[in-house]
């Protein structure tokens, strides 16, 4: 499982980097805000509500960071908090939140500073993720987007390593097919004009 340049560090790497036992809230926030936000989205939280989920997650992190054990995976720990915040919101909000979401105004465009091509590519990726079932989506997100190791994913999702690999293989295959369809679409486009 390859790691990208801005891959989140494992807890051990993180501790080594900051040369102390536990990372500070600022460091965790700066490195993992995007990850937490995307995990919330992968659980089906709308983009506009993902900011609120991220805030609740980091408030929990703020209260509980002193209980984090450096021997554990930091991204896996954050995944667990995010999952539980999302589940608690789902249970607690029920009718009220569903009704509120029914009148949610159209979302303002996110990151307007990003180029059109970049936003379009991100939208394609979101479309692909939305089309995956949740099991494969989570493994794919954590592995190929967030850069967690297979054992960290197994810890976060509480599944065997073999299952991590099989789900990842299946998700990558689907992404390849999705990319081919996009390429075919973009090749057809000039003739359509």
């Amino acid at each position: 499982m390859s790691k990208t340049l801005d891959t989140p560090l494992t807890s051990a790497e993180f501790a080594a980097e900051v040369e102390c036992g536990a990372p500070s809230l600022r460091e965790v926030f700066a490195r993992h805000l995007g990850t937490v936000w995307r995990i919330a989205r992968a659980f089906g939280v709308p983009a506009d509500d993902a900011d609120d989920v991220a805030q609740e997650v980091f408030l929990v992190v703020h209260r509980r960071l002193h209980t984090f054990q450096p021997s554990r995976s930091l991204p896996a720990w954050l995944f667990g908090i995010t999952r539980n915040v999302v589940l608690m919101r789902r249970r607690a909000h029920t009718r009220r939140e569903r009704r509120l979401s029914a009148v949610e105004p159209p979302l303002p465009p996110r990151e307007p500073e990003a180029s059109f091509e970049l936003r379009q590519a991100a939208a394609f990726m979101q479309e692909f993720l939305d089309g995956l079932d949740e099991d494969k989506r989570m493994v794919f997100l954590l592995a190929d987007i967030e850069g967690l190791t297979a054992s960290e994913i197994a810890e976060a999702l509480e599944i065997p390593l073999g299952t991590v690999f099989s789900r990842l293989r299946a998700a990558r295959l689907k992404l390849e097919q999705f990319s081919q369809r996009l390429r075919a679409r973009s090749l057809r486009r000039p003739h359509d004009r």
Binding site: F29, W37, Q55, F128
Partner: protein
Amino acid sequence: MTDEPTSRALIAAYKACARPSAAAEAELWATLAAAERADARDPGRRSPSRAPWLALAAGLLLLAAWQLDLARIFASGHVLQDMRDLAAYDAAEPDPLEARPREESAGAVRWLETVKREAETRASPGRQRAAAGHGRGSPARASRAAADEPGLAEGGDGAPGADAREGLAGDGDRVLAEMALLQEARAALRGGQPETALALLDRHAESFAGGSMTEERQALRVLALCAAGEVARGADEAAAFLRAHPRSTYAARVAAACPEGHVQKDTSEDR
């Protein structure tokens, strides 16, 4: 990039765009930093969980009871059961760190389906046609239309004439009008206009004094007060909100809204 979209390019674009906006990130950090500062001033705010202490106390009591040969008395009475119940209650408290995912209960799903069916039955034929024609977006449009309707947005009680005119009478429409007004306030707050949000919330309080979304209004009001810089009032109202709704889903956000005001909140994570 889109001419030759590769998997890697898609992932890179997604990582770049799928995250909070720079403004939202700054706002999130400001909240956390304020919470950190408040904690630094008042370290006692982080109260440890009661569960380990209860377990320890129960263990010591049992040990003492065994040593004094009182176990028989405890076991035959209600004391031991009470202790077990207390420990079970404490363990059952939701904890974002320890809770495990659980499927939505079948009962909840059935309840939601029933609510949906009831709503569809109550809806007028015209609205049903609109819903069929516009899909998921139509309730939003309907509610915004309701908010634009003066009789509903301002009066809430809805003059009989207005009800007959638009076919928007009934509890469901009152709720929609309530939601639309709250949604406006929420949008104003998110748009950096807390004063506008407060005015809209005042209007909501007048129009829907006994409405079904008082809790949402009060929570939004705390957030708006804090955002408007009225920290003392915000903290007072936050404390009142947390006393009235200690298990509210908005409790964490309300407690964090005015950290400068020292809102005391024992959130569910700490119980």
